[in-house]
Symmetry: C2
Subunit: 301 residues, 2 copies
DNA sequence: TCATTTAACTGACTTTAGTCAGGTATCCAG
DNA sequence: CTGGATACCTGACTAAAGTCAGTTAAATGA
């Protein structure tokens, strides 16, 4: 069973990523070394901060500097201080010159050409099928590339998630969301051993979160489960929830609880299907309409 | 329309081939340079001829030799004369030593591990969806990687196709197929300007063929359209047929004909859907039950 | 304000990948 | 049985890719 699935993925990796990937590189490198072409491509018509390029391409800082000097020497790129006023004066921004934009457009055209060379031999119907299947693979691979990790709630990415969470529910609750009326959650409550905050990231960008408070002598309480709408419907919420439950279970808690608002219908559906059952209110949270509870299976090991 | 499709393929290329492909390489290279690891992998537990490795990996002959010497030096590989008696004494075969097999198994394990790392974060249902979509992408990409090219009918790959064609129809015709009873087709008839033989290849392996005879003062005649069963159902036959028609049309023929056997039901369906209509017998081919004709649109240009 | 960290950079270096021009033994067609 | 092709090999080389230690200037935190 598992081995069948693994074999299928390996076949795919072999034929698709190796072969198509190699061809893609070949198209990309037009007389210019691949690393330079890729860098030029990543800078793009809008420019990019050097640090962002380093992260996206996964390059050594020194190596990247040298590549930038080469492209500058060829008159394709200028590297200057960031323009945003009040920014960090150490940060530098790479931007394309007119010649650089021309070469970028050339790469863009080649990339189009390569994509079309894949579609061209197929009949119209098969083209549609291929594109549909590609979109499906991509969607599910994105789901599998999301990483869920504990993270201090004070981390800027955690903060961004919590802000997005508040904005989202404010938009969805019938009567809006006013943090002043809700029971506050303090950072210390979401730091071990009092609890934990989990951050979900996609290519190190925050795309979701969730937290659990381990109340002494009371059921653990799940809070702040949120998933960015760009990655909704991929099972990320369920993964976060499961990880939070496991966290509580391995520390000896046997019950978790949570409250939620009636507007959050998918969340409610998820809680039901994850084995939660509705209970009487266990708190007086202003924005809660439903309260749920789940018995945790004892932690293995 | 076209640009939507192209954009979708490009998105796929970016996320899938770049990201998954890069990770795959990383898993593959375990302390050893990627080229060596790939070569070791390709040799495999059963060994492989040096020429086959060169073709599969697309390496320079000298470079491959050097890589083999390195692996030999590390005690992972032995390169010796081919064992098949009566073979070409120049041909050499690379085989893994015990240590080589151990390292191969290590790579195999890593490859499994990587494949599983993609599937593991998904729920069972999404795993199935991903594997299904991957298989679909792979299938259609194979279709798009098939190349149809003119080829002399004396080429060994053309010969292999014609043998496979005879074997196939021998198996399918109710009363078998005896070439002696069929009208022979001579090589000269399938070489320009008398006609053409098209070979379909996938990674340079022959997977299909077709030919057209340009009879002076008579309709062109299509012969020997065959597709390997490994790539059937992907529209290869239709592509070959279309290319043959275009070949005849650009040389001034306005009509093509062909005959076929009643057992070849998919072929008959293809001819119908490609615009052929059934006509009275125009020859006395022993194995023919149906005769078809198509008016060719004038060649553009 | 002063030690520490950080972003970007420079210089010196190694490894990997790949190319190209021969060379040797074998095969094959005429 | 000879001349040319072929399979694999060696030597000499280059370019690309990447690593690492250390520098500078700005930011940060106590």
């Amino acid at each position: 069973m598992r081995s069948d699935l693994v074999a299928a993925v390996r076949r795919f990796n072999r034929t698709v990523t190796q072969r198509v990937g190699a061809l893609d590189d070949e198209y990309m490198a037009s007389g210019r070394p691949l690393a330079q072409a890729r860098l030029l491509w990543e800078i793009g018509p809008d420019g990019a901060e050097v640090a962002a390029l380093r992260a996206r391409l996964g390059l050594d800082s020194g190596y990247l500097s040298r590549l930038l000097r080469t492209l500058e020497g060829d008159g394709l790129v200028t590297v200057g201080p960031a323009e945003r006023t009040g920014g960090d004066a150490r940060v530098r921004v790479a931007a394309l010159t007119a010649a650089g934009r021309a070469e970028w457009a050339e790469l863009d055209g080649r990339s189009d050409e390569f994509a079309w060379s894949i579609l061209a031999p197929l009949t119209g119907q098969r083209r549609e099928q291929l594109v549909t299947a590609m979109a499906e693979v991509e969607r599910l691979l994105v789901a599998s590339m999301v990483v869920v990790r504990p993270c201090p709630p004070s981390d800027p990415r955690a903060r961004a998630c919590l802000r997005a969470y508040a904005r989202d529910i404010g938009r969805r609750f019938d009567d809006g969301f006013d943090p002043a009326l809700s029971k506050p959650v303090h950072d210390e409550e979401l730091v071990p051993p009092a609890g934990v905050f989990l951050l979900a990231t996609l290519n190190s960008e925050p795309v979701g979160c969730g937290a659990v408070k381990l109340h002494p002598d009371a059921p653990a309480e799940i809070k702040r489960v949120w998933v960015a709408d760009t990655v909704r419907g991929l099972g990320i919420g369920r993964r976060i929830l499961g990880d939070l439950e496991r966290y509580a279970a391995t520390r000896g808690w046997t019950t978790v609880r949570l409250d939620t608002n009636r507007s959050l219908t998918e969340a409610i559906a998820m809680y039901h299907s994850a084995g939660y059952r509705e209970i009487e209110p266990y708190n007086s949270e202003h924005f809660a309409h439903h309260w749920f509870e789940k018995q945790l299976p004892p932690a293995p090991g």
